[in-house]
Symmetry: C2
Subunit: 95 residues, 2 copies
């Protein structure tokens, strides 16, 4: 019967899940791209990227594109595996 095992709270958040979803399908994405795709505010994204990074789910690479700062994000192996675990657990809720 239904197994309602807990859902990783770090991933069970619309914005963070959206970011992870983008990163998993694209392998890497720029801050501005994430902003466009998610429609979230820069501040919100900044905070959520920090959380994902602190958890080791993503890597944040800071560089410059010309003279402007450029923040690039990549999902890590840890992140991919956490995502897979989350999806597996979630499917028990929705299938």
């Amino acid at each position: 019967m239904k197994d309602l095992t807990p859902l990783d709270p770090l991933l069970h958040s619309q914005l963070r899940l959206g970011i992870m979803s983008l990163l998993i399908s694209l392998e890497s994405a720029e801050f501005t791209f994430i902003k466009e795709k998610t429609g979230a505010t820069a501040g919100n994204i900044s905070v959520q990227l920090d959380k994902l990074s602190t958890a080791g789910y993503i890597e944040i690479i800071k560089s410059f594109k010309g003279k402007k700062p450029l923040t690039t994000c990549k999902v890590t192996k840890v992140g991919i595996s956490a995502f897979e675990t989350y999806v597996k657990a979630l499917k028990n809720y929705i299938e």
Copy 2:
């Protein structure tokens, strides 16, 4: 490409999603059963049932089993359709 349309915030909550998941597969469930299955506290469940009920996603029927109060929950048509919409949107994030 990825469509990150918003997820119904009422359903994008572990406990409420679990409750809805149970109700959809069982058609109806008692408060105590929901408590056992989810492992959540009675207070938390009470609050979340209220929210789902206020939204019209579930119906709460209060009666007595012998001399003890009995709270029974049933998912509504509105609730089922909201759940289906949520699942459809969610799949864009996780597939």
